[in-house]
Amino acid sequence: MVSVCFYFQVHQPFRLRKYSIFDIGSSDYFEEKHHLKLNNEAVLRKVANKSYLPANKLMLDLLKRHPEFKLSYSLSGTVLEQLEKYYPEVIDSFKKLVDTGRVELLSETYYHSLAFLYSKKEFKEQVNLHKEKINDIFSYKPRVFRNTELIYNNELAQFIEGMGYKAILAEGWERVLGWKSPNFVYRPKNCSIKLLLKNYKLSDDIAFRFSERSWEEWPLTADRYAQWISAINGNGECVNLFMDYETLGEHQWHETGIFDFMGKLPEELLKNPDNNFKTPSEVADSYKVRDEIDIPHFISWADLERDTSAWLGNKMQQEALQKLYNVEKIIKKNSNKHLVEAWRKMQTSDHFYYMCTKWFADGDVHKYFNPYDSPYDSFITFMNVLNDINLRLEDKKRGD
């Protein structure tokens, strides 16, 4: 039996507006009016119309048509907050999906942050904030955890086990798996929770290669893809297909046929009685642990490197992150809720991704979409805002 396990990541950051040295003194950090690429409401509406709404409609339809179909989502706190504010219809459509009882919601940091790398205390607080948010909106309690950008190591797994989760997700990268297949359930080193590994080849066939005309499998059809999955029967128990939800309609445009492909896939998969669908916690419950996986260093699902260099590979990123977490104690002592929130919104990994200079000169726009003119511009904006926060903290201290 092969269980297909879909997990889609739904996330949007609060982008910082163009904030120059002359703006220091004003606290509207996230309210861009002129540059559309930085206008959070405009971006959200665009993505929702192109991706979230049509994709949710399709998924609801598939759930109705196929009682066997199941899937899971991880929705960051920052996207939920923006959807509530700018586009509540999208929240309603997600609720309908969850109400079917066949959609699992995963746990993550509220601010889609890198907090685990800088402050365990902050990390735990953000995981709990996210838990509350999911409970408030969906009356749902997640039992499986995935960290921002699938950043993962042994220590994280232990920490998550300590927080009471039954399973955790990670990238199924052969550099750490060796001869082991990602199509089984494992156990992190010195842990008893389950470890689910992404089958990145099959995931990326949809997420990255689907519309690539130079790919020898183009155009990919649902029946051929279903055959590849069926072929795993006999040497695997689960196929974990993890990807950004924006794959449907935003990364792969409607015109590429991505919605038709997804619409036919469950039917094609179910033609083979040896295939079924499971959510991450069902996979964790159904299959035995095959081995222990030792991942001492951080890995992620990003780039060919599968490391953390896209967010902390250069000095600007390291400086920005360090300076940001340096103020944790003092900002938490400060009773101003808005300032703490702004500080947390600045922890979202996207801000550091925009500062990435790897391959920047190669002009690979697909890999490094950046709403700012350059990584340097994004650093300048970030540091100017952080300066404003610091000035406010100093003012407050003087006032006390």
């Binding site: 002359f22 000169a361 003119d373 340097y376 650093f379 540091m383 100017n384």
Partner: protein, 401 residues
């Protein structure tokens, strides 16, 4: 392949980027095995008396330099030419054209005669004053004419483009077998303002000398004051006024900063007056014209180089700054911004954004370091071979035309 090239000045006697760029291209072509006969206007009465000797002593393989007696200089205008000719002794004056356009024609006839003396396969011209010479040479030898465009009349004039220069340019473009533009920006101007067929134009961005002893000058900074640097003709196209306005904003945030303006030009008095008006003249140094070596010495002291050009067909000096380990801020309107990534870019008119970026480079040390290091790595990918190879491709296309 043999090239008959009509160019301008040769180092060390250069007054701008064009001389440096032509020299670099010639060197790149020579390295790729081409023979170049390089024709330059030259006035023995000028201080350039030792020019021929100097060229002779520094002869680079495959390059022959032919000076042709003329009062033309690279950035001549109708007015500046009159000033120049007025300074000559009366007997000498009669040898040359009494105005710029007459001199261009006189020079063209003299220079084109060389086409019958020097064997060549292609004719290559740089900028409007040599187009007539190139066309005359083509008539004599029947070889293909390649026109290389570094700027057009729209880049040179601040207000109304000069009609005569426009017509000479258009005639040159129409008569050329192939055109080389130094940026997409220039190519677009040719298509939109001169009605030239786009497929006749190849874009070849400039490269820069990979090695130069002057990149390694040892200059110690005697103080901690931060230095912001401007290099170029102090004229409207280069945006020196935006530099001064930005300086006054920057000083509010980073008071321990000095601003160095290297270069001279018609706008210098206006710029000095504006700095006085703003009460920041004591934060400025105006150095006048500097040799390349002296410019590079200032680079060694500078914390950031700013090129706020209103119009900049390419902007080679930005690459020179990076070669000298200085982070650069360039205008989005410059040709070099089409190819350079590791730098900061601003719209030239956006003084607030320019100031924001200058302050940021001075204030955030890691930003300074990353721009400097990544910019240096990136500029090392620019060399003389790439552009030379592209130019050779254009020569071959022109010969099969």
């Amino acid at each position: 392949m043999k090239v008959l090239m009509f160019g301008w000045e040769f180092p060390p006697y250069t007054s701008g980027g064009l001389g440096t760029a032509c020299y670099a291209l010639t060197k790149g072509l020579a390295r790729n095995g081409l023979d170049i006969t390089f024709v330059v206007p030259y006035l023995p009465e000028d201080q350039k008396v030792e020019f021929v000797k100097l060229v002779g002593a520094n002869t680079i393989a495959n390059i022959t330099i032919i000076p042709v007696n003329s009062t033309l200089t690279q950035y001549s205008t109708f007015e500046s030419y009159e000033e120049r000719i007025a300074k000559l002794k009366s007997g000498l004056r009669d040898l040359y054209g009494h105005n710029l356009y007459i001199e261009v024609i006189r020079y063209s006839i003299a220079a084109a005669q060389l086409a019958s003396q020097y064997d060549h396969d292609v004719i290559h011209c740089h900028d409007w004053m040599t187009y007539q010479a190139g066309m005359n040479a083509k008539e004599i030898s029947g070889k293909p004419l390649i026109i290389h465009i570094h700027n057009t009349v729209f880049d040179r004039s601040s207000l109304k483009p000069n009609e005569i220069e426009y017509q000479i340019e258009r005639m040159g473009f129409e008569n050329a077998d192939k055109i080389i533009a130094i940026s997409n920006k220039i190519k677009n101007t040719l298509v939109s303002k001169y009605g030239i067929e786009p497929n006749k134009i190849s874009v070849v961005h400039w490269g820069i000398e990979e090695e130069d002893p002057d990149y390694h000058l040892e200059v110690k900074k005697p103080f901690n004051t931060k230095i912001v640097m401007f290099v170029g003709r102090v004229t409207l196209q280069k945006g020196p006024d935006y530099f001064v306005e930005a300086a006054s904003q920057v000083l509010k945030y980073e008071p321990d900063t000095r601003f160095v303006v290297v270069g001279s030009g018609d706008m210098l008095p206006r710029i000095i007056n504006r700095a006085i008006e703003l009460g920041i003249i004591d934060r400025f140094n105006f150095t006048g014209w500097f040799s390349k070596r002296d410019v590079y010495k200032v680079f060694k002291l500078a914390d950031v180089f700013v090129m706020p050009s209103v119009s900049e067909p390419f902007g080679l000096v930005a690459l020179e700054a990076l070669k000298n380990n200085v982070p650069v801020i360039i205008s989005k309107q410059s040709g070099v911004s089409e190819v350079l990534k590791h730098c900061l870019k601003v719209d030239f008119w956006d003084v607030n954004e320019l100031s924001n970026k200058i302050v940021s480079v001075l204030k955030y040390k890691v930003l300074y370091q990353e721009l400097k290091n990544n910019g240096f790595n990136e500029v090392n990918k620019f060399n003389l071979d790439e552009p030379a190879k592209k130019v050779i491709t254009v020569y071959n296309e022109a010969r099969q035309w």
